[in-house]
């Protein structure tokens, strides 16, 4: 049995998305900017894809900008709001400590250019409140950017409340919805979102394509200069096969969302119930305000990479916020921002499941993890010291 439980990293393409994409590569290879019929048929496909994306986000097609992925969309949204703010002398941004690097590194770039950023604490449960956002608002706040759902621990923020606040204060609101899109309902109208990023490969669409939703009236700056594609806001020959593949995947995900959500939530609960029995373990992030398919545990006394490799050996693909998986010395900034000490943050495991997974697979995971954790603990001098009381436990039980 091989269990792919790393859907938050990337997903396998759906058959529908794949078929749509292949059909486009074979039959609609024209450049949508070309006047001849090969080009104009491609242009028609582009229009259709834009309409589909808009429909399921409750947006207008003219508010959809195709990008090469979530990172690019994040960069463009933030740089655009910053440029607009700067023109009015506003150089303050509100965000959180546990955003994706596509957001954080863009914010850091802006800090070097004189912007000030307030990074809201996300607490032990990985949630912020609209009140905390409101308290951080200043006269010169140019942008509030808060992710819809976190990629490592899966917590979902109160986006509609934050949206309402931003609208009231007339501050542009961007949300990185890369983990949320296709998995939980998103309504940019109801949520009062001004800009939103998503990436197709997180919902069984192709890689290398995403959307920046930007509400009418938002002024965008280009991340990529050149031709007049995407109404002059994103240059480069349109990646039509990927775009139509994304639209097909998004439609499929949204149409089946309720059904999938129910199924995936059950798988997630199976995992949580099984894994929380492991002594000295903890589930990261709020128990209920979370994505249907994302689970993140810490096991004291072990290091995440070893756990991953041994799980892989048992046919389970998972991920970790361990330092060793990223090549840096610090464990993931997400885990640290929850207030988890370095010592235990290294021992994290993320399992992210989707509609292609089965209860049998969850059983396999639940049966495999405890033994591996025990094996690694037995090899670990840290565990030895914890047992002997020479070291203090961070976790309960």
């Amino acid at each position: 049995m091989y269990v792919y439980a790393d859907n938050a990293a990337t997903t396998k393409m759906s058959e529908t998305a794949m078929k749509t994409m292949i059909d486009c590569m074979e039959n609609y290879y024209g450049n949508p900017s070309s006047l001849h019929s090969v080009g104009q048929e491609a242009a028609t496909k582009l229009v259709e894809a834009r309409e589909i994306m808009a429909r399921y986000l409750h947006a207008n097609p003219s508010e959809i900008y195709f990008t090469a992925g979530g990172s690019e969309a994040d960069n463009q949204a933030i740089l655009s709001a910053a440029a607009a703010g700067e023109r009015k002398g506003k150089k303050h941004i509100i965000s959180t400590t546990f955003e994706h690097h596509a957001v954080l590194h863009t914010l850091q770039k802006l800090e070097k250019q004189g912007f000030e950023v307030t990074y809201l604490d996300v607490h032990r449960n990985g949630l912020i409140t609209a009140k905390e956002v409101a308290d951080a608002v200043r006269e010169d706040t140019a942008l509030i950017t808060i992710m819809y759902a976190n990629n490592e621990i899966g917590t979902i923020q109160p986006i509609a409340e934050i949206g309402a606040l931003c609208r009231e204060k007339k501050i542009p609101f961007h949300t990185d919805a890369v983990q949320a899109a296709g998995h939980i309902p998103i309504d940019v109208e109801a949520d009062q979102i001004d800009m939103l990023s998503l990436s197709a490969h997180k919902f069984h669409g192709p890689k290398g394509v995403g959307v920046l939703y930007a509400r009418k009236g938002m002024q965008l700056v280009n991340v990529i200069e050149g031709g007049a594609q995407e109404r002059g806001k994103r240059a480069g020959t349109e990646n039509l096969p990927a775009i139509v593949g994304m639209a097909a995947a998004f439609r499929e995900s949204c149409e089946n969302m309720e059904k999938n959500k129910e199924k995936i939530t059950a798988l997630r609960e199976q995992l949580i119930n099984g894994l929380e029995k492991i002594p000295y373990s903890v589930l990261n992030g709020d128990r209920t305000h979370r994505l249907p398919g994302t689970v993140n545990f810490i096991f004291e006394g072990i290091e995440g990479e070893s756990l991953l490799l041994l799980l892989d050996d048992k046919g389970i693909a998972a991920s970790s916020g361990s330092a060793c998986t990223s090549g840096s010395l610090d464990p993931s900034h997400v885990l640290l921002s929850l207030g988890i000490p370095h010592e235990v943050a290294h021992g994290s495991l993320r399992l992210s499941v989707g509609e292609y997974n089965t209860p049998e697979e969850m059983e396999h995971i639940v049966n495999s993890v405890p033994g591996i954790v025990e094996y690694l603990r037995n090899m670990s001098p840290v565990w030895e010291e914890l047992k002997k009381g020479e070291r203090k436990h961070f976790l309960q039980k």
Binding site: S306, C324, G327, H342, M379, S380, P381
Partner: protein, 131 residues
């Protein structure tokens, strides 16, 4: 692949894992904050030859593999040879490590030296580890 077959072999089937109650020397290096701790135990006979060695490691795949490889490389060797074990030798024996994992081999080298250090200290001999 991230790791060579050798690394994977030593990670999946680590040699000389465990504690040693009656060790002649014990060394512990690294720290939990950084995510790597290695503890090495050596048994030394009266001819200063390492007759047995064990390790416990908290760390990533390459940390475990480096520990395992290091124990194999010093087992049965005279102390004077063991203290010459370099991290490069461990890396080579493992058919290489990714650049950002080289520190694991350094830890292995340091763990051996710390154990030998401890052995000399216990014997009351001036350690010759740092040359």
């Amino acid at each position: 692949m991230l790791y060579s077959e050798k690394v994977m072999d030593h990670f999946q089937h680590p040699r000389n894992v465990g504690k040693m109650e009656d060790a002649d020397g014990v060394g512990e290096v690294g720290n939990a904050k950084c995510g790597d701790i290695m503890k090495m135990y050596i048994k030394v006979d009266d001819k200063d030859v390492i007759t047995d060695v064990k390790f416990n490691t908290f760390g990533c795949g390459s940390a475990i593999a480096s520990s395992s490889m290091a124990t194999e490389m010093i087992k049965g060797k005279p102390i004077t040879e063991a203290i010459k074990l370099s991290n490069q030798a461990v890396v080579e024996a493992l058919d290489g490590l990714p650049a950002h994992k080289l520190h694991c081999s350094v830890l292995a080298e340091e763990a051996v030296k710390a154990a030998v250090d401890d052995y000399y200290t216990k014997k009351g001999v001036k350690p010759k580890v740092q040359e």
